[in-house]
Symmetry: C2
Subunit: 338 residues, 2 copies
Amino acid sequence: MVSLAIRAAQRQTRGSIDPILALSKDDMARVNDLILAMAGSNVELIPEIAEHLISSGGKRLRPMLTIASALAHGYSGEDHVKLAASVEFMHTATLLHDDVVDESDMRRGKSTARTIWGNQASVLVGDFLLGQAFKMMVEVGSLDALAILSAASAVIAEGEVWQLAAAKKMTTSEADYIAVIDAKTAALFSAATEVGPVIAGKGEAERRAMREYGRSLGLAFQLVDDVLDYGGNAADLGKNTGDDFREGKITLPVILAYEKGDEEERTFWQAAMETGQNDDAALLHAKELMQRHGALEATIGRARTYGEAAYGAAASLPPSPAREAMLGVVDFCIDRLN
Amino acid sequence: MVSLAIRAAQRQTRGSIDPILALSKDDMARVNDLILAMAGSNVELIPEIAEHLISSGGKRLRPMLTIASALAHGYSGEDHVKLAASVEFMHTATLLHDDVVDESDMRRGKSTARTIWGNQASVLVGDFLLGQAFKMMVEVGSLDALAILSAASAVIAEGEVWQLAAAKKMTTSEADYIAVIDAKTAALFSAATEVGPVIAGKGEAERRAMREYGRSLGLAFQLVDDVLDYGGNAADLGKNTGDDFREGKITLPVILAYEKGDEEERTFWQAAMETGQNDDAALLHAKELMQRHGALEATIGRARTYGEAAYGAAASLPPSPAREAMLGVVDFCIDRLN
């Protein structure tokens, strides 16, 4: 398989989300209108919280992928807009509940809804958005799309419960971790892209390709995020790194460093992740150990492999601006490391 | 309209859930099997919590009503079992999240899931059960049933957010309160019964009757619960009363007593509900004020009116054991007051 780097050179462009932004611009404007309308309620707290989430600067990658996947399969109706909004509502509901479960105070540099309005409102508004998501899906009327998205909804929650039960245990294996992010992150990416061929009336081969594209892209994204949280391979000490470490979140770089560590190193990791000895000195040591064992490099390797799989799946599409946009997202994901 | 009391005398039976228990026995055994199967997961915490909820002694009235409503319309397939299990999962998910939001430690005399496994697990397992509920609905394949149940899901959450925002405010009017229980309680009863004629292939008239039956029954149930929480009209001082009062839950008896109260009484209610001055002496005084202003009797009157409406809606059904079972549930609901 030709490497991403070579292909990027062939196209003489670096990975970028600009093509998908341009491709989905008009449809995403309608997605945004629909999101605002469906987050409306006479209960003032609901639009207040929804507005906070909407303005908090996510890239809205998932709904853009739904749009792109539908267009890549020649879809020309309006249902992709409703499904894209549903996907974003599912994601938003998950974030609201996640922040409650993780007791997070900040997300993307802004206060989380739970710190402003409380855990109670975050739980209930999440439930409301999920209900609205299902209402929109039902309006679309595709039982196949409903099956895909409702299954994703259960899988995401199951992954979260698993993580909760297994959290802060250094016995977590690489396979365990991949299973968790498969559920927590990749399942929604996969569902978001699989519904494209479904509403375009395509068959199982197209659905499988989009399932594979979304899943692999989701896994690659998560693993790149994990690496960036330790400052990337350069292991710099930038301000925005170390969040996972301080929260005791066991990610793949930690698992790989732990597996290669000696007795003393393992004791360090247990103290850091399981009993919260995670000050700045500990973070610095953690990064040193990751460097020593090539844990970030190895995680990047896994991310590139998943990126290749996503690339291969999208490359099976007939040539179109939508296909190029989806390929660009894969390169963008990996290029964040540079 | 002939009163419930007269009709009960005509049938020479008191209201009872025995007929619906007998009617739905075989189907409910399959509902229970399905519930256990769908609550299964490799993530051990999920079946553990689900088992706790399943064994905690609810009457399972909602899924029984789905079964009865389907049978009352001549339905003879298996989809009513899946929809009944979905309805129960939606209810269970709501209870899990409610207990987190209300910070409740006990439900039906047992510790709540959140006191045993924590708020985090309760939020996430609720999300999982909701996802499984939608998966089962999708398997049934009725877009009309999906529309009814997904709309109920959003309405329930919206009602909860409203209650959260308005909680502990003595400015809550009777109309406000009815709107809240319409959303929080009646919407699921209504959806549970409306899906019966839907899967039986009946039309809008039958759907409307079952919507009305479920809604009115749900409202009646909630209002009777509200009265029972103050010991019923006898205002006895039994051990299991006063929970709503101590939790500062503003229910209809409180609203009606407040509306008829003088300045001094209103000050008492504000102190009790808004600032938590709700010891046993305050509860006793609250019951005295309710007696003085006939607040419990008036609430019972509203409950009876809704009961009549439910009765009338079910009476429109062709005669069958299922119809008798549904009528029996209405009488049972009201007879709990005696």
